[in-house]
């Protein structure tokens, strides 16, 4: 589904990704772990086309398409979803309005008919319900006044409504209490654990991986993948830390 080959990228003038190679097949969940500043968020931004993140070398193919040639909204329409480490507030725009417009913009781009208000609300209600978010919250402005945990939960509601093929989830687990972590973990499994979908799970902690079992775990350090293993690698990292591993 996703092939990243020898990816180099700068933020401003500073090289951050330095030859990153990674492949995800449909049906797989990959976890990426690594120390602060390793370039994990940068990878998510580069894959979703954030302005200011400049690819200097390498290629990325997503379902056969040259991903890097697409605008951010085109990548979204092609099925890519980025769960933000720091979800953004948009005052005066309700979650419902935001998501309906976003979803219908994607559908339009793909040549699909827009969802009516009623159809959309049905989907939104289901997804919010499954993630334990009440409808009042969906009517509130996007992320405004939400707690850190509520923002992350909201990212998952958005993912459920948009129903992407590939989700890159950037530290979706940070800021969640134990109950919320379970809800979010269940949500990821329910929405994304499907034969035709894939997930790139960026996390610092093993605890989310108790709920969402990864098929592969990668260590990202110094802008490239330094080690790849199965679910047990995460446990090893938790026990020994990145330093031990590098040594």
């Amino acid at each position: 589904m996703l092939q990243i080959n020898n990816l180099h990228a700068n933020v401003g003038d500073k090289p951050i990704l330095k030859g990153l190679t990674l492949s995800l097949n449909a049906g797989e969940i990959h976890a990426i772990m690594g120390p602060n500043g390793a370039g994990k968020s940068t990878l998510g931004y580069v894959l979703s086309g954030r302005p200011g993140y400049e690819v200097t070398e390498g290629s990325v193919t997503f379902n056969g398409q040259d991903l890097l040639a697409l605008e951010p909204h085109e990548r979204a329409a092609a099925g890519l979803f980025l769960g933000f480490q720091y979800p953004v507030e948009i005052p005066g725009v309700s979650n419902v309005q935001f998501l309906r417009e976003a979803l219908n913009a994607q559908r339009k781009y793909r040549g699909e008919a827009p969802l009516t208000g009623g159809e959309f609300l049905k989907v939104a209600r289901e997804q919010a319900g499954a993630l334990g978010m009440d409808m009042d919250m969906l009517k509130r402005p996007v992320n405004v006044g939400f707690s850190g945990g509520e923002k992350k939960r909201n990212e998952m509601v958005q993912m459920g409504i948009i129903d992407p093929a590939l989700a890159i989830l950037d530290e979706t687990d940070s800021g969640l209490d134990i109950d919320a972590l379970r809800t979010v973990g269940d949500g990821i499994n329910r929405i994304m654990r499907k034969p035709d979908k894939a997930v790139l799970l960026i996390t610092h902690y093993q605890r989310l991986l108790d709920y969402v079992k990864p098929d592969f775990v990668h260590v990202l350090d110094g802008g490239r993948i330094t080690r790849t293993g199965g679910a047990e690698l995460a446990l090893e990292l938790e026990r020994d830390g990145y330093k031990e591993l590098a040594a």
Partner: protein, 500 residues
Amino acid sequence: MTDDIEIKDKAAWDAAEKVADYEHGWSSDIETDFAPKGLNEDTVRFISAKKNEPEWMLEWRLKAFAMWKTMEAPDWAKLNVPPIDYQDAYYYAAPKAKPKLNSLDEVDPEILRVYEKLGIPIAEQKLLAGVEGGEDGGLPQRRVAVDAVFDSVSVATTFRAELDRAGVIFRSISEAIKEYPDLVRKYLGKIVPMHDNYFATLNCAVFSDGTFVYIPEGVRCPMELSTYFRINAENTGQFERTLIVADKGSYVSYLEGCTAPMRDENQLHAAVVELVALDDAEIKYSTVQNWYPGDAEGKGGIYNFVTKRALCQGRNSKVSWTQVETGSAVTWKYPSCVLNGENSVGEFYSVAVTNNHQQADTGTKMIHNGKGSRSTIVSKGISAGHSNNTYRGLVRVAPNAEGVRNFTQCDSLLLGSLSGAHTVPYIEVRNPSAQIEHEATTSKISDDQMFYAMARGLNAEEAVTLIVNGFAKEVLQQLPMEFAVEAQKLLGISLEGSVG
């Protein structure tokens, strides 16, 4: 068919209908009946004669014209306006065409088509259609009576009979001068006096048409009233005049919309709107202003110099101005409330968008003379391109007005780095019991917001439109439903090209 549409000047209507075959932005080659070019006493007499006005009206106009000649254009606004050659314009233009012999029944669908081309909100068209007996997809029966003004003349008014039954007078001002001279004379020029300002005085001399509304005591106007103004003829100034009187305990919601075709030359628009609310009366006045703003280089566009003022004369009277200003090359406009009545209320909700080389200097005045009077001001300025957007507002409290309250919120949003936003509040409080609050913010659309919206599937323009609509929401939600939808779209359209 339960109601009628009165076509006042069949020839003018037919011409207007022909014009409507063009999208706004295009004017047609219809024949137009002009006054001679230029401005002198004869022009004033010509206009008055064309309208068969009574002698008192002509005298009033001539007095205003004499006064105007002694006045100078104001220069205190933060606007850069080249000198206007008042002799190089027409002051009266009426569409002219050969009369056709259609019955009213045949005209109905055409009216819908005309309004569609004029850009009247879709939902309103549906409502109009519903009244005609057509099916309407579950929309509540909210209806809007429309007065359409083309260049200098009012060409049609809808729902006349039903409004008449309710005792509501909804007429073009030319008709009202003849049919209800006492009522018109009692209020005309009493809220905005003839000498008020250069453009208002000019309007007194040459006003061509406009709308008169009277809501009798205790009557809640059975539907929304609306006027659509369109400047079509080349080189023509439009000077409309609106007078709305809400008698004791009455209520009316009035909508004003405007369009003009693209032209290279600037065209002058100088309207006067006067509102009076007596005891316990309420007037809600909403404007969506979409005059041609000029091209991306700043060529052409409407000069919009408008005087709008409300007199909240009665106890507990209330006037609410809501405006969405997206058009015009230059906007000079301060819808105000003189709050004379005890516990009277004034509100001003404004969104002003400027793009390219547009300039807007707009705001309000809240003059608190009555005890316990309250006012709310919410102004949202959005500037893009090379444009300049100024909020200018006055809050004044008279010495014996006890217990006055005002809340002002002024927010500016900047797109790009070449545009300007300015806030100029004047606060004059002469009574210590007054509570005055003023808050102001200036912000930019952040890269984070843009990317977040785009990562969810919106393209750059959709993302800007969404964020801007969120910014303006407090104001947009004051508009009647149909207008709000239209206004949201307009905000997006006016900001086109403002993001890379």
